[in-house]
Symmetry: C2
Subunit: 281 residues, 2 copies
């Protein structure tokens, strides 16, 4: 091609890889910070560092959006903020409901970042009648009975579930039946939804378990010795050559969870080396 002078995804139809989509918010955040500091342009290298990825990946990601940079110069910060916002659908308003106003639901309701960018908490819903009317984050909690009406009246298409696990699937079904097509699930359970509905989950204990897995191997060789030992022989030094200073930084909930975590040479272990590496079984 090499045509277009216009900034426009020439032949680039919308086929943005999921991994790229998951990183766009990261770039957007970094760009917003630059914008607030009135930085006019930024190179892929600088922006990548700020977002915690490498520059090749960033450029490739941006290439799916179109040609928004200028060779030899970099990217115009404001323009890119706008383009990414638009791509993510943040130029429109997304009313959201939070169902389950317990500790977590209340905390999220108060979370500033919520409303920061295109999202607006349209309603807080809880099944407990005693909660009804109570103000949380300056907003009266509404009862579950009104869920359908609330969804409809506000044109809500995104729901956040912060109920106990046992109630999540049922709440999910009601949300979907009422018209919600995207769900962010904080309840530790797998939701099953009809096709066309997106679910993303945020799960504290899963994240901790993943960390524990890696942590376990930093604690020196010898895990799993109780039962079958087998010549370690491992130890193939991974390549890694991440020249970029900062180490890992890992990925989002699902989709792309990179966690570089190459166990390169870790005989170092933390200062506190007490935890028994080998469990008694």
């Amino acid at each position: 091609m090499a045509t277009g002078r216009t900034h426009r995804p020439a032949t680039r139809s919308r086929g943005i890889p999921e991994a790229t989509v998951a990183r766009l918010p990261l770039y957007l955040r970094a760009l917003t910070a630059l914008s607030e500091r009135s930085v006019p342009t930024v190179s892929s290298e600088e922006l990548a560092t700020a977002a915690g990825v490498n520059s090749a990946k960033l450029r490739k990601d941006f290439s799916y959006l179109g040609s928004y940079g200028t060779r030899g110069v970099g990217y115009d910060v404001e323009y890119l903020v706008y383009q990414i916002s638009r791509e993510l659908g943040l130029t429109q308003d997304w009313p959201v409901v939070i169902v389950g106003i317990g500790n977590l639901g209340a905390a999220l309701s108060n979370y500033g970042g919520f409303a920061s960018r295109g999202f607006r908490v349209a309603a807080l819903i809880d099944a407990d009648p005693a909660m009804a009317g109570k103000p949380v984050a300056g907003m009266p909690v509404q009862h579950m009975d009104d869920l359908e009406r609330i969804i409809t009246d506000n044109g809500v298409s995104i729901g956040v579930i912060t109920t106990p696990a046992g109630a999540a699937q049922q709440v999910c079904e009601r949300l979907v039946a009422a018209g919600v097509t995207s769900i962010l699930n904080f309840a530790p359970t797998v939701l099953s939804v009809p096709e066309g509905v997106d679910v993303r989950k945020v799960d504290l204990s899963i994240e901790l378990q993943i960390l524990a897995f890696h942590e376990q191997r930093k604690a020196g060789e010898g895990a799993a010795a109780a039962e079958a030992a087998l010549p370690p022989a491992a130890r193939e030094s991974a390549v890694d050559g991440t020249s970029t200073a900062s180490g890992t930084s890992s990925g989002a909930a699902n989709t792309a969870s990179d966690t570089a975590a190459n166990t390169a040479s870790d005989e170092r272990k933390g200062p506190d080396g007490e935890v028994p590496a080998v469990m008694p079984a």
Copy 2:
């Protein structure tokens, strides 16, 4: 089964793909539920359904752990619970500290799932002197000044950061310097850490933005109450599957060619209030 010495994966010691590791907690949760119902064995198909993945993936994942199933029968639930727990390092105790006891930090402190499986909240830490001594989740909040001592005394290697974004990097550095090698970051910022330290992040607004992206391309515009939204030249594109959701196989490469007319030339700064993203207030 496999009497005698359980033959280990042999050449398969350390090489569990990251994607597999990220799913092990999911399998474990499903297995635990089965265990509680005293179900003795389960097939890959059943377990996969319960965990929200497909059976081929599940079997492949398990193959990295070893041969723990029985052909023609399935997997022994209890045995698999144990093997996965061990693999994830959950047979040992992981003391964890939570830094930043605002709304979110307090909510997490109270979160039951925390202690459920190998993890134990060793301390709650906050920078606000007014918080010191106050009980949260039945535990007195301690002051940031004591962070290093707390980490050391308790042999903490996993830290959870729930501070405002602005404080996160500094807290992170102190945690790492004190010996923490795994961090779960809830603050909306990229943490940079030395090699050997794992960071996983949980970020509400990123998740919402990803959902918004997909939402935007479902059914054109959808129920947005829309204000003076600029026409995003909606193009179709198959929704792709994401995370846990079951459906999502509809690939359908977007055909079309034409060029999306992004007529966006309006004012970019929509009606957004530009609220600074801060954590719980």
